[in-house]
């Protein structure tokens, strides 16, 4: 008999590499959910952080206080911000059948479905690397990838996320991230 230990919780799993802002974007999305009146847990897969090494982060969002303290094994949403990780891991692993897979990639949703055999839910693709380079001139693709996840899932309002980003990075960095986020929302493909 299957047991659901995550009632009322929307759970995210993030993949990226150390230094790409996985932990930051996870926290930022968490804080946006908090600002909309939710309870949250936002935590990295802990370890000595090394630049370039694969890292994971987890987020739980719920209307009720969250009492389970463990890694997320069956996420509702998986977000992978580094295209090169798709060579070494299957991002759909453990993802709920009706879940959402969000990837920074040049591929489209159909290619991704074929490649990883994910038949359910939604696949969302966005070329966040190109967006980041064109808008910011630097490979900060965590925020545009998160933007695609937010617009596809509707877990929070995109404006709330932008508010958190501007709050954390006042000035030019925040403004450019806002442009990148808005462009990612427009360019994300869902299929």
């Amino acid at each position: 008999m299957s047991m659901d230990f995550a009632k009322g919780i929307t759970a995210f799993r993030w993949h990226g590499r150390g230094g790409q802002g996985v932990v930051t974007s996870n926290q930022m999305l968490g804080k946006a959910a908090l600002a909309e009146g939710n309870y949250i847990q936002a935590f990295p897969e802990f370890g000595p952080e090394r630049t370039g090494a694969p890292v994971r982060a987890f987020l739980r969002i719920s209307k009720e206080p969250i009492q389970v303290y463990a890694q997320v094994y069956i996420p509702d949403v998986v977000v992978c911000i580094d295209p090169t990780l798709l060579e070494v891991l299957n991002p759909a692993e453990g993802l709920k059948t009706e879940g959402t897979l969000v990837l920074n990639t040049e591929s489209d949703p159909k290619d991704i479905r074929d490649r990883f055999g994910f038949k359910g839910g939604k696949v969302v693709t966005v070329d966040a690397s190109t967006i980041a380079m064109e808008v910011m001139g630097r490979p900060f693709y965590n925020m545009p990838t998160m933007a695609a996840a937010v617009s596809a899932t509707g877990v929070v309002e995109i404006d709330t996320v932008i508010g958190e980003v501007l709050n954390r990075y006042p000035g030019k960095v925040g403004d450019l991230n806002k442009v990148a986020i808005e462009r990612a929302v427009k360019e994300a493909q869902i299929g």
Binding site: M3, F5, G30, K31, Y39, F46, V68, Y69, A70
Partner: protein, 397 residues
Amino acid sequence: MTISKDKIKIEGLTGDSAIAHALRQANLDVLAAYPITPQTIIVEDYQRFAADGEINAAVIPVESEHSAMSACVGASAVGGRVATASASAGLALMWEILYVAASMRMPIVFTVANRALSGPINIHNDHSDGMGMRDSGFIQLYCQSCQEAYDTTLMAFRLAEHHDILLPVMVGIDGFILSHNVERVEMLPDDEVEKFVGVRAPVDPLDPNNPLTMGPLALTDYYFEFKEQQDRAINRVPKVYKEVEAEFEKITGRKYGQFETYKTEDADIIIIAMSTMGGTAKVVADVLREKGEKVGVIRLKMFRPFPAEGIAKAVGNAKAVAIFEKAMSFGAAAHPLAMEVRTALYESKERPMILDFVVGLGGRDVPPTTFVEGIEKTKEYLKAGKAPKYETLGVRK
């Protein structure tokens, strides 16, 4: 009266940051610390508050944890409100001075992001450090959430500095699992905290104008009397803790107790666990109850002094108690938490079967399924009428 909602600041904070804010608001005189993962953010944040001029405490960045606790003892002896933070190997290096702090009756608040002890070197969570210091004379309070970490740190000053107590307090949070986890935290306004924590009123502080000797040599003549007094002091903790918590509840609406009971009244099997594992256990109990299994949870917050009578009463007529703990006492008759619980239940009329599951050492994840595995085993042992003395779960054997 509970503080009105518009005065409460809601923020997403890690356990470490929540504690740093509590220390900021508690108006310390001195914080002396040496950095160690996963406690580091507490002191980093606190030093930022100091650099930004938000606090006027003296922050002493010492050269080791032995010095950190020594500086705390000195600052506390002159009557200051004092705190420090550490974990694991850092805590171990404080060892000698932990006993000095408790025996000299210094009301230091010591926040710990609980972490495994070496070797091999491991930076992740278990309770080896906290359990190792359990006989040092510190009061020990373990927290489930970032909110509780904030609340407990504030209450710890009132408890430590109370004239019936005058003992140091350890406030424990699970390293990384809580220390680096952003949760929703309600922060009280500064002035309300100031009112709640008040100003420390020291008893016989060191004073150059009225010299006195503190912590001198006491051999066969008086050492034992010091210990007798220390013992009496820690046994007064439950009463004072209850008063402090009642006052805290009045302004926040929150209270935790020495331990929390969850669906224990009609339970056949009661899980006993500490810190974040207590939270996961409650979720497991809910799910198992939907399947018709009468499972309850006791989440222990106060490990020292150990609320033995209260636990025995809360266990009541349960058939089995399943302890889940994150520490080993190698070669002991039972591991640390089980040792306490077994002793607490020894005089019960109908003693339940007691299972001791050692889990999560060195940060090994303890998901709900580990609890389910333990409960399944408990049911088998109940049926068979016998059980092993203890068992490890979630480890390659």
